[in-house]
Structure formats: structure tokens, C-alpha cells
């Protein structure tokens, strides 16, 4: 690792205590009810808590909790592009930056944005871009940054939802909201909106994240890994869409609430 002179540095090597636990981490059962009491094989998403407009400095922001997954998204812009090329003249530029805070996972993460963060940023970008009316913002850029404060699973899916809320909060024109939902599939059964433990313990199966535009019925982001059959994948996509629809009213409510708070009291006439 290159020496980092811009930070306070600790010892060269240090290891997470998790590696030395006396008892091996309990393997989650692949059947029966889930640890948090939710149902398997159903679009059973965790209850979410969302708030818009918490950050004073941003043009739009949203904070979201799903179980103990906590993340925050800020939107800056539209503001003038720093880098100009021909496409910017007709169309705005969207940039996304997603990071996991060093303390957000069971094992500490590094300061430097790793490939995982870059990958997540790209996925976030591809999921959001179809929804934003970029042609309405020529020569400008809209910056979306997401910080995951606690990773308790399904971060990408929730980041998508949170970011679309923050975009809406910033008053950026969008065709539709974007909602995210993910699932983990293992040995013939699946869990929707998995927790971190569920994500890491699904051995032979795989994970799937879908970003969905609910009113337009369009999939704007799709990403899977691990091994699954085509039928499972297709079924998984359907389940995720179902999960998104469950989330939809909650998100709408949060936005309306934010609007109410922001709007001046109705004039009496």
C-alpha cells in the first residue's frame, strides 16, 4: 500500500478481532423463519424510516434506515459543469459517489475508495440516470453522494431509493421515483431485503438487486451475482419488483411530508 501522508496513520498491519472469535459465527439456517422474524420466500421488506432535507448545505438530502442499515444521501446541483465537452451542451451530467464509512461494516473498511465503492457508485449511476430528466439541465451537473453509515445488508438497493428521494428533495425533475430492492437466493429459497448476515451466509446461491421505476414500470438497474438458474433469476426480478411496490407508498408519504414542511402555510383568503 502506498504511504498515505494525508491521514493519521496507525500501525502497518492490524487485523479485525472478528477473525479470532472463539466461536465460529453461527451459520444461519437456510429454512424456517428469519432471524428478525420476517418471512422467507415473500417480498417481506424491512420497515423503513425516511426523512428528507436534513442536511443544511445540500440542495436536497435524504436519510434512510431499513432495519439497522443506515444511509444518507446528499444532492448538490444543478450547477455549472467543471468539465465541458459537446454532450454537456445538450444534456446535463449526473455524477454519483457512493461510499461505505470505515465503521459501517463488521470488518473495518479502508479510507481510500476501494473498487467496491466504485462499483456501487457505477451501479447507482446506471440505476438513477434513466429517471432524471437530464436534458432539462444543459451545461450543468448534478452530484449525488451517498454515505453508508451502517451496512446491515441491501445497501445498494436502499442507496437507490434514498438517492431518488434526495433528488426529488432537491427539486430535480424526474420521470419517476427510483426504488431499489434486493434479495438473496440460496438452496431453493430466497430472502428479500437481506441483512448483512444473510447476505454473507448465502453460500451457493446468489444476490440480486433491482432498481425500478414504479409508475413507468421500467427496470433501470439490475445486477446479480452468485449462481442461479434463469428461472430463479426471472422469479427473483418479479419478487424484487413486488418489494419495490411495497416500498412505494412509504416513500411517497415521506416526500409529501417533506413538501408540507417546506411549503409556506396556506394563505387565508
Amino acid at each position: 500500500m502506498p504511504t498515505d501522508t494525508k491521514r493519521v496513520r496507525g500501525p502497518e498491519v492490524s487485523q479485525s478481532p472478528v477473525l479470532f472469535g472463539c466461536r465460529p459465527a453461527a451459520v444461519l439456517p437456510s429454512h424456517g423463519p428469519r432471524a428478525d422474524g420476517r418471512q422467507r420466500d415473500q417480498a417481506d421488506v424491512r420497515p423503513v424510516f425516511v426523512r428528507c432535507g436534513l442536511v443544511s448545505q445540500a440542495n436536497g438530502s435524504a436519510y434512510m434506515e431499513a432495519g439497522s442499515t443506515k444511509l444518507m444521501c446528499c444532492v448538490y446541483g444543478p450547477r455549472e459543469t467543471e468539465r465541458k465537452d459537446e454532450t454537456d451542451m445538450k444534456c446535463g451530467r449526473l455524477t454519483t459517489d457512493m461510499r461505505l464509512a470505515p465503521f459501517s461494516c463488521p470488518v473495518r473498511g479502508s479510507w481510500i475508495q476501494g473498487t467496491q465503492d466504485k462499483d456501487l457508485s457505477l451501479m447507482l449511476y446506471e440505476s438513477l440516470q434513466p429517471a432524471v430528466c437530464l436534458q432539462k439541465y444543459p451545461r450543468s451537473q448534478i452530484e449525488v453522494s451517498v454515505m453508508v453509515l451502517e451496512n446491515s445488508g441491501s445497501v445498494l438497493a436502499h442507496a437507490v431509493t434514498c438517492a431518488s428521494l434526495a433528488l426529488a428533495d432537491a427539486g430535480i425533475e424526474m420521470y419517476d421515483l427510483v426504488l431499489g430492492c434486493s434479495l438473496c437466493q440460496d438452496a431453493g429459497s430466497y430472502v428479500v431485503d437481506p441483512t448483512y448476515a444473510e447476505e454473507t451466509s448465502c453460500g451457493s446461491g446468489g444476490g440480486l438487486t433491482v432498481a425500478f421505476l414504479p409508475s413507468l414500470n421500467q427496470i433501470s438497474g439490475l445486477q446479480s451475482d452468485g449462481e442461479m438458474s434463469e428461472e430463479t433469476l426471472t422469479a427473483g426480478v418479479r419478487t424484487c419488483i413486488e418489494g419495490c411496490y411495497k416500498l412505494y407508498p412509504v416513500i411517497q408519504q415521506a416526500l409529501i411530508q417533506a413538501l408540507r414542511r417546506a411549503a409556506p402555510p396556506p394563505s387565508e383568503s
Binding site: 487485523q15 440516470q129 434513466p130 414500470n217 427496470i219 446479480s224
Partner: protein, 291 residues
């Protein structure tokens, strides 16, 4: 990614052609361009392959190095991917221009291989918790003419097939320390089982239909693509939507189905070709870049 400009009228022409299942180069929607594959092209690697698909050309070199197993999986070796989008492929990649695409491609490769069956990682273990083989899979883009993903995955499979890892002898000395000795006999080597290594199929949605192996012009007409990596048994190891647009669920399902079908069919001819090449042995006329 390397981009080309296409006028509105050209787009319409391409779009209608795909609707009628007759693409500009005469192919049907699910036809690949002519593909040439050759392995063992770079002699200082442990395995290598060169694949050309239309004008797209990729070179894959694999180096096996001894490293320390990951703490979470002490009895497995691992793969490292790196994709070099060099300026040779297109001037757009000059300086740091290709870095973004490079990370995107290598991240996808990590996903594609992120499962238990693609490659038997346990066979790469030398001594649990201490030593294992790390396979550095380095992809070099030589020319871009669309459909990098598919070409890359075929080249990787071919290079893995070609990879020869020296046999290792572990002897312990008097003080209990272990010594690792590599066999110098070039024939005393370990081969990898590539049966389950997946191939990537990129389906480009153009108009209301989708095509495989899109050229740059076709890609310019498409709003979104679905990338899907499929094993010879038809299992999907990675799926991703790429590109700026969105897809309706029905077409995602159609594309997944087509991707699986096409992907599954890629493996048999590829394996047959690799075996045929191998059977030629020393008689094989190496072509490389001189042919």
C-alpha cells in the same frame, strides 16, 4: 467506451433492419460475428489467449503467483482481474482515459466469478492459511469494435484452459519451517478445470428487439443492454443492466431467456476448438500477431 457517431437516418436504418432480423452486416439478431481464438500467445505467462471478434481484439495473460490465502477462506486460492484499456485500442483511452472503463470491466469480472463453481479455488490452495496460488488474470484490449464483454469472457476461458501451473512440493526442514519447491519440469504441471467457467452474453436492446454481439453502430442505437454470464449448464452467474436507459420487465425476461440460450450454446464449440488446438500439440502453427 469507444463511441461512434451515427446520424438519425442511419439509426432508423439500423433499427428497421433489426426489426426485420437482418442486420447491416447480414447477420440475424442472435448471430455472432466471426471469432478467431488462439491460445499460448505470450510465452512468459502461465496461460494466454487472443480472441478477435469482428475488429474487436483482446489478449489475456494469466500469471500464477504464490500468495497468502484470504483470511476468511484459508483453504482457497483466488483470482485477481485487471483490464487494461490502453491507448492502442482507441485514442480515447490515452493517459487515464481508459481507467474508468477498465475498473468497470474488471469489477464485472469479479462478479462473474463470484461463486463456488466457476473455478475450483480449492485446487489453488498450496498449504491452508499459508500459501496459495493467486491467478492474475490480465486482460489487454487491443481494439474496440463493440461487444468487449463477450470477447473478453471467451478469451479468459481460453486462457484459463491454457494455464499451466507448476507442481509444488512442500518439504519441511528441521525447525518445522516449510519450504516450497516448484517443479522445473514444464510437463509436470497442474491444469485447471474450466468446464464451469461462464461466458458473458451482452444483449443490446435496439428498438423493440434485442441483438447479441452488437457493433459500435448498433450500440449507439441502443438505450440499454443486459449482460448475462452463463455456464455450459445454463446457470446464470451474473446479470447486469448496462447503459443509460431502462428496460421494461418483460423485455428483461425475454433477454434473460435469450441470453441463457445463446450463452449455453457458446460453450460447446469453444471447448471443441480448444481441445482441437491442444491436440495439435507441437504441430500447431503458432500465428500470434504474425499471421
Amino acid at each position: 467506451m469507444a463511441t461512434v457517431q451515427v446520424s438519425e437516418a442511419e439509426k432508423v436504418y439500423i433499427l428497421h433492419g433489426i426489426r426485420d432480423d437482418l442486420r447491416v452486416d447480414g447477420r440475424g439478431c442472435e448471430d455472432y460475428r466471426h471469432m478467431e481464438i488462439e491460445t499460448d500467445v505470450v510465452s512468459n505467462t502461465d496461460g494466454s489467449a487472443k480472441v478477435t471478434l469482428g475488429h474487436t481484439a483482446v489478449l489475456v495473460g494469466i500469471k500464477a503467483e504464490i500468495g497468502k490465502p484470504r483470511p476468511m477462506v484459508p483453504n482457497e486460492g483466488y483470482l485477481e482481474f485487471f483490464v487494461d484499456c490502453s491507448a492502442n485500442a482507441t485514442p480515447e483511452f490515452e493517459g487515464r482515459g481508459g481507467e474508468e472503463l477498465g475498473t468497470e470491466l474488471s469489477n464485472t469480472l469479479y462478479r462473474v466469478f463470484n461463486n463456488k463453481h466457476s473455478l475450483d479455488l480449492r485446487s489453488l490452495c498450496i498449504s491452508p492459511g499459508e500459501h496459495c496460488w493467486v491467478l492474475y488474470v490480465d486482460v489487454l484490449l487491443l481494439q474496440c469494435d463493440g461487444n468487449l464483454y463477450d470477447a473478453m469472457s471467451v478469451a479468459i476461458k481460453a486462457a484459463l484452459f491454457n494455464t499451466k501451473i507448476p507442481r509444488v512440493n512442500i518439504s519441511s526442514d528441521d525447525e518445522g519451517g516449510k519450504e516450497i519447491e516448484l517443479s522445473d519440469d514444464p510437463f509436470d504441471c497442474m491444469r485447471l478445470d474450466v468446464e464451469n467457467v461462464p461466458c458473458i452474453v451482452t444483449l443490446c436492446k435496439v428498438g423493440h428487439r434485442h441483438v447479441v454481439d452488437a457493433t459500435l453502430q448498433e450500440k449507439a442505437c441502443s438505450v440499454a443492454s443486459l449482460l448475462i454470464s452463463v455456464t455450459h449448464k445454463g446457470a446464470v452467474t451474473c446479470a447486469r443492466k448496462v447503459g443509460g436507459g431502462s428496460l421494461d420487465p418483460e423485455s428483461v425476461f425475454e433477454m434473460t431467456e435469450a441470453g441463457k440460450r445463446v450463452g449455453k450454446a457458446l460453450h460447446a464449440p469453444l471447448m471443441a476448438l480448444l481441445r482441437q488446438e491442444e491436440s495439435l500439440g507441437m504441430k500447431r502453427h503458432k500465428v500470434g500477431f504474425l499471421g
